[in-house]
Each structure stands twice: as structure tokens, then as C-alpha cells.
């Protein structure tokens, strides 16, 4: 079960140096730009930029490759689903139909459909490096501080921090419960019958959940005993203050978002149409 999860990778790079709040705002602007536009030229530009930033960050491709395979597989499925459900979506959007191959009925291959699906796919390729970078270059504890800095109430920001703090613990608990249950005779392999397996899964998640509920109590006590929530504000040990690079990046990010919106919507259509 212990599938790897994405987490912070320690390194010294200009990207790591930026404050978490900067990266969070940049990431939000970046993904809004990518989400809103269907303009292929902008998407390509953003894609190349994100590859460049990725190289600056000194993160190695192999460190995150396991997620990429996952995503590629997901994209493939998504593309297939789009084609199966709506093979004429591209034609509808771009208003022309350049047929390349005929298969059966509605199912032909048009340049418009290929272009539409290419656009959908590249949107992911724009967001993914940014998202991955944000995750692996921002220390989880700094993340909570950043949320607070951009206006999220500190208590909620702290809830996120608790979630990040306890994911490994709960994962370990889950393992320990599974191990100790197995040591007392529960079979989790696929050998058992369906009903038995459902029951066995339940016999692990119920203790996991009930013990997590107990844990909520213990942690609440510990936090209250150390004065959490007594003031309207709190400071953060691992917060980073803004430096010149942070302001520069924020301005740059805002410019990119502004330009994207301008170019995308000035003619009232989100799609860039090369067919007319």
C-alpha cells in the first residue's frame, strides 16, 4: 500500500528561496490563466515558461516522475472519454470540419477535434509543472504561514498544517493497524471472498477512524494547554518574509495573468481558432 506521495524536497534554489505566500499566489494566478484560456499560443508560451522554471528549481525529473506516469495515464483516459462521448466537439467549437479519417457514423477524426483535445491536454501540461513545483519546493510548515499571510484565518491555516503534519502519522497508524490485525489473523490479500474482504477492510478502517477521533481529543488538549487560539493573531516560526525577488515575481505573475485575459477575451471567445 505504501505508494509514494508527493512531498517537500529540500534543495537550495531560487524557487525554494521565494516565500511560500508568493508561490501560492503565483500558483493561483498561473492556474487561473491556464484554466480560463484556450488560446493555444498562450498555452504554449506558459508551457515553455513552466519548463524553464522547473529547470531553475534544481528538482530532478526522476524525483517526481512517478506522479507524471500517473497523470499521463489519467490524461489518456480523459482524452479517450472525451472522444467517445463527443467526437464532434472540436467541429462544434471551431465551426469547420477537416476530416482526416472516417471511422463510423459520428466517429471520424477531424483536425478540429485533434486540435481541441490537444488544447485540453496542454492545459494540464501548463498547470502540472507549476503545481508539482509548488508542492515540492514549499515546506509544509511554511505553507500554513503563507495561507495565513494571504488572508486565510489563522485557525483554518493551522487546520491545513495539522492535516499535513498528521498525514504521515495516520498513514503509519493505518500500516500499524493493518500489521497488527494481520498478526492476529486477518487476511488482507485477494485470496478471500468478496464479502469477507469487505468485512476485513471495515475491521481496519473502523479502528483507524475511531482512533483518529480519540486523537482529535488528545491533540485538542495538548494545543489548548499550550495556548492555541487565545489571541486573534499568531506568529509563525517558519514564515518567510517577502524579499525583492518575491515582489518581482508577483508583479511578473500579475502581468502574465493580465495579458492572458486580455488576449483571450478581447474577441469574446476563449478559443484561438487557426481554422478560419
Amino acid at each position: 500500500m505504501a505508494v509514494e506521495m508527493l512531498s517537500y524536497i529540500k534543495r537550495t534554489s531560487p524557487v525554494h528561496e521565494l516565500s511560500g505566500a508568493t508561490k501560492l499566489i503565483l500558483f493561483i494566478m498561473w492556474s487561473s490563466a491556464a484554466m480560463l484560456t484556450y488560446d493555444t499560443r498562450i498555452l504554449l508560451f506558459l508551457f515553455i515558461m513552466s519548463i524553464a522554471i522547473f529547470m531553475v528549481s534544481k528538482i530532478h525529473f526522476r524525483e517526481i516522475s512517478f506522479v507524471l506516469y500517473f497523470i499521463l495515464f489519467f490524461l489518456l483516459l480523459n482524452n479517450m472519454a472525451i472522444y467517445i462521448f463527443s467526437p464532434q466537439e472540436g467541429v462544434r467549437i471551431y465551426g469547420t470540419s477537416h476530416v482526416l479519417v472516417d471511422i463510423a457514423g459520428r466517429y471520424n477524426v477531424t483536425m478540429e477535434q485533434l486540435f481541441y483535445q490537444f488544447n485540453i491536454t496542454i492545459k494540464y501540461f501548463v498547470v502540472i509543472p507549476a503545481a508539482l513545483l509548488f508542492i515540492v519546493t514549499t515546506h509544509p510548515s511554511e505553507f500554513a504561514a503563507s495561507l495565513n499571510r494571504i488572508g486565510v484565518p489563522y485557525k483554518i491555516a493551522y487546520a491545513v498544517s495539522i492535516a499535513l503534519r498528521y498525514i504521515p502519522d495516520i498513514q503509519r497508524d493505518f500500516r500499524n493497524i493493518a500489521q497488527s490485525q494481520q498478526a492476529r489473523g486477518i487476511d488482507l490479500s485477494k485470496k478471500e471472498k468478496l464479502f469477507k474482504r469487505v468485512k476485513n477492510t471495515a475491521s481496519i478502517i473502523i479502528p483507524l477512524i475511531l482512533s483518529s477521533l480519540d486523537r482529535i481529543e488528545v491533540i485538542t488538549n495538548a494545543m489548548e494547554l499550550r495556548g492555541f487560539g487565545k489571541n486573534r493573531k499568531r506568529t509563525w516560526y517558519s514564515g518567510k518574509s517577502f524579499k525583492r525577488a518575491d515582489y518581482f515575481m508577483l508583479v511578473l505573475g500579475a502581468c502574465i495573468l493580465g495579458a492572458t485575459l486580455l488576449i483571450t477575451f478581447h474577441d469574446g471567445n476563449r478559443f484561438y481558432n487557426p481554422f478560419v
Binding site: 506521495m5 500517473f70 503545481a131 495539522i162 483518529s212 487560539g229
Partner: protein
Amino acid sequence: MNRKGLSVKTIVAIGIGAAVFVILNNYVSIPSPIPNTKIQTSYGFLALMAVVFGPIAGGLIGLIGHALSDTTSYGSVWWSWVVVSVFVGFFIGLVSKKINIESGIFGVRQIVTFNLVQFIVQAAGWFLIAPTLDILIYAEPSNKVFVQGLFAGIANIISVAIIGTILLIAYARTRGKTGSLTKDM
């Protein structure tokens, strides 16, 4: 203690709830009779937390849990569905006052109320909101997203009906009744 804002316990419940949601979402599913399909356990858990800790906790666990689970496993967040998780957590939480699980009573009447509510809320969320947002944000083909929403909705309704109900029963049993423990020699 009357302090403004959320209580420390609710905050911790949101944090731990989101962490458990991530683990369940990523690793723990129940095999189903249909090959290659699994039933997620996470929504059953979300429903439990919403009933126990109320609508705000429910909504935020949906938000933080779903977003973290997406980022840690895909590297990007599918926002339209996250919104639905928030919606589901929040509105199931709204009925919590009706059920009053802390009393330790979760009988037939409560089970029926709970499942009725979860059905309505999830149906609205998965069958309507999710596909609509998919079209608006991602410009995906409408028939595709409606079918996706339909499948996800049915699976999650079943998950909450089975796992959520079992968990609530188990939880209600742990609410010890006042003055009930004595040593039996």
C-alpha cells in the same frame, strides 16, 4: 469557554479529518462486485465527520481533504469536484442538529433521516453541480461530464449509505452513557 470563531476542537477535527480523508481516498477502497471498480470509503468518513462536527467542519474537510488528496497524487486539483466535496460536507453537516449523535442514539429513524439527506445532497452535487462546473471551467463535452457525474454520484451515495451508516453506528456506541461504568468483580 466562549470564544469567537471556531473552537480548537473543530480546528483539530478539520485537520485530522482532512488527513484521514486523504489516506482513505488514496489507499482504502472497498472491492465491489463489478470488476475494476472500487467503492471509495472517503465519503462515508466525510459524512461521519460532518454529522459529528457540523457543517463548517464538514465543508472544510471536504475542501482541504479533497484538494490535498488531488495534489499529492495527481499534482493538480480538479476544482469542480472539490467544490462538490465542500457542498456535500457542508449540507450533510447541516442535518447534524436533527440527528444529535452525541446522545449515543442512532436508531432506525436517524438512519433513515441521514440517508435521505445524504441522497438528496449528493444527487444535487454530483449529478448537477459537478458537471455544470466542468463545462463552465474546463469546457469539457457535456454528455461526458454528466455521465461521469452520474457514476461518481452513485458510487458515493452507496459509499455513504454503507460506510457512513456503519461508522455512525460505531461512533454512537462509543458515546458512553452518563454514569454507566462500574467494576464487575
